[in-house]
């Protein structure tokens, strides 16, 4: 198996490693870097549990080779808030009971970050379509929608405060 040296930034830290050509990015993150917040729920890119940000865009890391991420800037669930603090989406999922078992939650939050970046004030329908690449089997989605709505408001306030 051919080896490749890759360098990428993950949650603000530069990482260099030698990887097999076929190694999936999700396995690189989980197995090589021991960051297990990014989950695997399927093998067809259907469930979105493995969603991360690559250069700010949400990507299903189960369908992305580690070698392709050479030079990329990657954010995972572990990197969206400083220790002991919450990203507005993490706070909103807690406040609105937007999670039950928690397995889809990291992917759902990473997807929602991208959604709110491109559409800071989405309607309920836009949220539902916006997270439709991520499956949740527990919540019935009502409270995930409410969580994204709460976070949108909070993030708008934060943005206003910094302008």
């Amino acid at each position: 198996m051919a080896k490749h040296t890759v360098t990428m930034t993950i949650n603000g830290e530069s990482v260099t490693a030698e990887v097999d050509s076929r190694l999936l990015l999700v396995h690189f993150i989980r197995e090589n870097l021991d960051m297990t917040g990014t989950h695997i729920g399927c093998d067809t890119s259907s469930c979105g549990a493995c969603t991360i940000l690559i250069d700010g865009k949400s990507v299903k890391s189960c369908t992305y080779l580690a070698v392709r991420a050479d030079g990329a800037n990657i954010t995972t669930i572990e990197g969206i808030a400083a220790d002991g603090t919450n990203h507005p989406l993490q706070q909103a999922f807690h406040d609105q009971h937007g999670l039950h078992c928690g397995f889809c939650t990291p992917g759902m939050i990473m997807r929602a970050i991208d959604l709110l970046e491109t559409n800071p004030n989405p309607t309920e329908e836009e949220i539902r379509w916006g997270i439709s690449g991520n499956l949740c089997r527990c919540t019935g989605y009502n409270n995930i929608v409410k969580s994204v709505q709460q976070a949108a408001k909070e993030m708008a306030k934060e943005k206003e405060a910094t302008v």
Binding site: T36, G41, L99, C101, G102, R128, W129, L135, T139, N142
Partner: protein, 788 residues
């Protein structure tokens, strides 16, 4: 409504406190089975059968073993040396761990490859050369009983055909006589297809055997770790795995829904592999393996409902054919092979009922998972609720009116059902009335009349179900002989903080919060001061686990009673501290005080400290209590659900406009969590109603074994759910609670099916089996038009 006895800071029952378990999940710090990494850990991957029914001619391991990093290929022959190639199912049938000569369903485990990492194990699995001799599979359960059908289980002594068992309940002769004499009889064959729980986390195990200590440590995606430990000890005791040496830890579980109750062959092979190799072995199912193995439902029910011409129900008969696949691995209590199916008489008061069931073997995956329902309640409720609507349509009656006419009335509880249950409590009229008000039933009926006049298809569907949960009284309920009680152990520390451990296991239900709330309610210790632990068989008290909505009815009750034992002990300590006799001490939440002198008081924290520092002479020190709760009866939650749909006649597309769910689950511990559970269950109800169903071709190939074609609803398919409650406490549960999480999965499918069929009624369509897809609707419309 329920009023809170405690302050929000104490957070007892009725408070929507935020969940204590959230932080780790939100920060990516959950610890699921696949997150477990042990030094030297090996990876296991299964080789699976491409055929539904075939002889295994040979298994050649050579090429696989030649791959650098592949350490072993384990076959049925290898396990047979230790007599570990077969295992018992939870219902006393037998299931192959790995086959020695025949595969019985597509995707059955054929052998296991152990390697240094998952990629190499997959290479190894690709390289194993298995030669098969395919045979004609039995796929249709109705053909399984044909005279010329091949005998699928010749391994079973005395097995002459593919019939597994016959079960019946009720008075057949009287029921048939009542049906024969009735004014009106409606009949239907209703199929509830195979579906899969499809929790987002699949099943998996990390087994780690230490040859020096002889301890087997197992991280397992298990809803019932104690029961599984006992079963393992019974199955593998002869090779040296005895119960005190087995420690099962069920870490965080990414959704269970019943799918993580059974023992899967992969668990056993990984455990056996670790035992033989002496290194940790991890096996995690991939999604296709998960979707093709294990199933729920698959009942074909012939129903007959008889009534007077003015709509009074008189008798119900249902004869079922159950397709169990190649082994009956239903996760049911042993005296209940069909689970609680006999709840099928529903929420209605009538005298005669008869239910019977015949189970057969086919070349499909084993299962009978109690998927988010208390053992076959979903099937039972679908049968009666579809039939009541069919009767209403036949009599041109409003489906609400026919329900009010037949409901068991509030003053009839406890109600002895015709098939032998004692319903504990309910106010069915109130629940349905509330649902009708919330949805605006009368307005929708008017709108429907107007739309029908314009030729538009609009439907209103009702379901008024009664559930039976909380297994159960030990005289009736056991799994492989182990009584279905559950347990709580509370330790209050000297500083007044506490921890409690339970025999159950949360998979997202929020036990770390709700159990703490029960203890806060009983002891007045703030819920934030109480740590909850479950899932480790070395530390938690023995219990049968979490499924069948049993955690609140059993372990929740155990928590309340254990807390009351502590409160009694605390009273003696308080009397000692306040220098009065015990009879002079009274309790209000969190505090003991002297009768008539409330200023003389000791808090529960003062008393806890004294239990370790200044207890009455002769008293046993410490402030701990344990209780094993054996419920006197099951609990019977009920609900009234109303669904409004519009159907596009051109395309068959179904638009769910409204869905209102009123649940009565007795007293509520945390309304936020209850509402969340109902939302989730409703989405798992619309799933089989409109989207999901495992499909097979004539060869027994699964046609939709991935999430690309097995349609788990997304946020787009899932409607905006509207929920509410009536509260009728359970008279026998210490907290008046009943359990809730399965009600929506049970109640939603018939409500949705009834709504869609109601929409199609003007076209003469009287029944459709679920899943009711646009394609099925479109075909039915074409057929109806052709007939007209």
């Amino acid at each position: 409504m329920f009023s809170c006895k405690t302050s929000p800071e104490v957070g007892g029952m009725g408070h929507s406190v935020k969940r204590k378990e959230d932080a780790r999940f939100l920060h990516g710090k959950g610890n699921y089975t696949d997150d477990v990494k042990l030094p030297g850990m090996l990876s296991m991957v299964m080789v699976r059968s491409p055929y539904a029914y075939a002889k295994i001619k040979s298994i050649n391991k050579e090429k696989a073993l030649a791959i650098d990093g592949v350490l072993a290929v384990i076959t049925g022959e290898d396990l047979a040396q230790y007599n570990l190639h077969w295992m018992p199912t939870l219902l006393s049938d037998t299931q192959m761990v790995l086959p020695t000569d025949t595969v019985m369903h597509q995707s059955q485990e054929v052998c296991a490859v152990i390697a240094t990492d998952r990629y190499i194990a997959v290479d190894g699995a690709e390289a194993v050369d298995v030669q098969y001799e395919p045979m004609q599979a039995i796929v249709d359960p109705f053909k399984a009983l044909d005279d010329d059908a091949p005998l699928l289980r010749p391994d079973k002594e005395g097995q002459k055909d593919n019939h597994i068992y016959h079960w019946e309940r009720g008075d057949k002769a009287k029921t048939e006589a009542a049906i024969a004499a009735a004014d009106v009889v409606v009949k239907e064959r209703i199929h509830l297809p195979r579906i899969h729980v499809a929790s987002i986390e699949t099943c998996g195990v990390v087994a780690s055997y230490d040859k020096d200590t002889e301890k087997m440590l197992i991280y397992l995606t298990s809803q019932a770790p104690h029961a599984i430990r006992t079963i393992l000890a019974l199955v593998a005791g002869h090779v040296g795995l005895s119960e005190e040496k087995i420690r099962i830890i069920a870490p965080d579980i990414g959704g269970g829904f019943g799918g993580k109750v059974p023992v899967y062959p992969g668990y056993v092979v990984a455990i056996a592999a670790s035992f033989l190799i002496g290194k940790p072995v991890k096996w995690i199912e991939d999604r296709s393996e998960n979707l093709v193995n294990g199933f729920a439902r698959d009942y074909h029910m012939d129903c007959e409902l008889a009534a007077t011409k003015d709509g009074k129900i008189q008798a119900f008969k249902v004869s079922t054919l159950a397709d169990h696949g190649y082994t009956d691995s239903s996760a049911n209590p042993s005296k209940y092979p069909t689970g609680m199916f006999s709840i099928c008489t529903g929420s209605y008061d009538y005298e005669h009922a008869f239910a019977e069931l015949d189970a057969v073997y086919t070349n499909k995956a084993p299962g009978g998972v109690a998927y988010r329902c208390s053992f076959r309640v979903t099937e039972a409720v679908h049968a009666i609720e579809r039939m009541v609507d069919k009767l209403a349509a036949e009599l041109q009656m409003d489906p609400a009116e026919i329900r009010f006419k037949n409901f068991i009335k509030k003053d009839q509880f406890p109600y002895a059902s015709p098939l032998g249950w004692s319903y504990d409590s309910g106010d069915y009229d109130a629940t349905l009335k509330k649902a009708m008000e919330m949805v605006g039933y009368d307005d929708y009926k008017k709108e429907q009349a107007e739309k029908r006049a314009q030729g538009k298809l609009m439907g209103i569907g009702l379901c008024t179900f009664t559930e039976v949960v909380g297994a159960g009284p030990s005289k009736d309920f056991d799994i492989l002989g182990i009584a279905m009680f559950d347990s709580a152990e509370i330790r209050v520390h000297p500083t007044g903080k506490a921890m409690a451990r339970f025999g159950t296991k949360s998979q997202g239900q929020g036990h770390e919060t709700t159990y703490a709330q029960i203890l806060a309610e009983e002891l007045g210790i703030p819920y934030t001061d109480i740590e909850i632990e479950e899932g480790d068989t070395d530390t938690a008290p023995y219990g049968l686990g979490t499924y069948a909505s049993r955690s609140t009815p059993t372990a929740g009750a155990a928590a309340a009673i254990a807390a009351r034992k502590l409160k009694d002990k605390g009273k003696k300590i308080a009397a000692h501290l306040l220098e009065v006799s015990e009879e002079d001490i009274e309790w209000e939440v969190g505090k003991y005080f002297v009768k008539g002198a409330p200023e003389k008081s000791k808090t529960i924290q003062d008393v806890a400290f004294a239990a370790y520092t200044n207890f009455p002479p002769g008293m046993e020190p410490g402030f701990e209590a344990t209780h094993y709760y054996d419920p006197p009866n099951l609990t019977f939650p009920n609900g009234a659900y109303i669904c409004v749909v519009e159907v596009d006649e051109e395309t068959g597309a179904i638009d769910v406009k409204r869905f209102v769910a009123i649940d009565d689950c007795g007293n509520i511990i945390n309304p936020m969590i209850v509402e969340g559970q109902v939302h989730g269950g409703l989405t798992q109800g619309i799933a089989p109603a409109m989207y999901e169903g495992i499909e097979y071709d004539d060869e027994g190939n699964v046609l939709n074994g991935t999430l690309m074609d097995y349609l788990v609803p997304t946020a787009v398919e899932s409607p905006h759910w509207e929920t509410g409650h009536t509260i009728t406490p359970s008279p026998h549960h210490p907290l008046g609670a009943k359990g809730v999480a399965e009600s929506p999965t049970v109640g939603a499918p018939p409500a949705i099916a009834n709504a869609i069929i109601d929409a199609l009624y003007p076209l003469g369509i009287k029944h459709l089996d679920i899943p009711i897809t646009p394609a099925k609707v479109w075909e039915a419309i074409q057929e109806a038009k052709a007939k007209a």
